[in-house]
């Protein structure tokens, strides 16, 4: 079903544009052109943030943090097996997706652990990536928003694990 939603929206959009006497072709090209500038603008910031994350993981500080926080997360009902996912999710989308695949193949798709992992994956965003990309070159100080968002990610993990248990 969901496969058809986007194409249908597109068809309606193009028909509507034509009806409104918009040159759909040139409008599309005009928009597509700005993609270069956008990516050019965010590139250095993504490089910087991804390098910091990679160094953090390579140095072993990442797993140290996981070991340190696992018992604390356990108190709030997050199973140990998914703690790494909760902590990695704010940093990298692709990295946490590979952990999720790993968890699903190890524990089976319908197990409690995998369901928790899926809910955690869907319930929050890659905070650091989003902030680097959105605020590339911005002078605005965004630290308070990042802290609140990180807290939100952990909160949604706690609630998600609880919901998986009772349903």
């Amino acid at each position: 079903m969901s496969v058809y939603i986007i194409p249908i929206i597109l068809i309606v959009l193009i028909l509507y544009g034509t009806y409104k006497k918009v040159n759909v072709y040139s409008a599309f090209c005009q928009g597509a052109k700005s993609s270069f500038d956008l990516v050019k603008g965010i590139f250095p910031y993504i490089v910087a943030i991804m390098i910091s994350v990679a160094l953090f993981r390579a140095s072993g500080l990442g797993s140290l943090l996981v070991n340190f926080l696992t018992p604390i997360f356990n108190i709030f009902g997050i199973p140990s097996e998914v703690c790494e996912l909760v902590l990695l999710k704010p940093f990298t989308g692709s990295g946490s997706l590979s952990i999720l695949e790993d968890i699903i193949s190890r524990y089976g798709a319908d197990s409690y652990i995998s369901r928790c992992a899926c809910v955690i994956m869907g319930g929050s965003e890659t905070v650091f990536y989003v902030s680097a990309v959105y605020f590339a070159g911005s002078k605005q100080k965004i630290a308070p928003a990042i802290i609140i968002s990180l807290f939100g990610g952990i909160l949604s993990a706690i609630v998600g694990c609880l919901l998986c248990k009772i349903m």
Binding site: G31, R115, V159
Partner: protein, 178 residues
Amino acid sequence: MMASLLVLIFVEPNLIISTMIDQSKDVVSLCINLLAIYAVWLGILEIIDQSGLGEKLSNFLSPVIKKLFKINDSEQIKYISYNISSNLLGLGNAATPSGIKAVKCMEKDLKQTKFAMLMLLVVNSTGIQLLPTTIIGLRASAGSTSASDIIFPTILSSVIATVVCVCLLFLYKKLKKL
């Protein structure tokens, strides 16, 4: 980053540069992908924009956005409404370019949009999604008997987190008198 470097110097100094370059290579290929994805979505957005549909959408969402973000500029509201609606539809790839444009637009008068920018980040990073398609697909391909039964807990947990975070941000605003 400093701490990671310091540790690595003692543990495995030869890893430092190779890690950095490998990661940078990954980002280059990521950016080429993004270039393609954003080109498609920005093209579609431009059609929405020029056909006047964007205006309708932002008129529809503007009462909520005005309340949440405390802004009045119609262009800012327009980009934020694109951003929010594509996030809801689970189109993260369309949400990002419109979010970047919203920030660029708000940069122009930094004094008035300080709070709106923080709000944009919070709303985007708690990420409410009506259909977590990637994850459902992953579960289905791993042989789940009911791949979509995670939809409800996912939505509920992210809604709760979003509401709490928005409240926290309002609290922060009050404390700091932004």
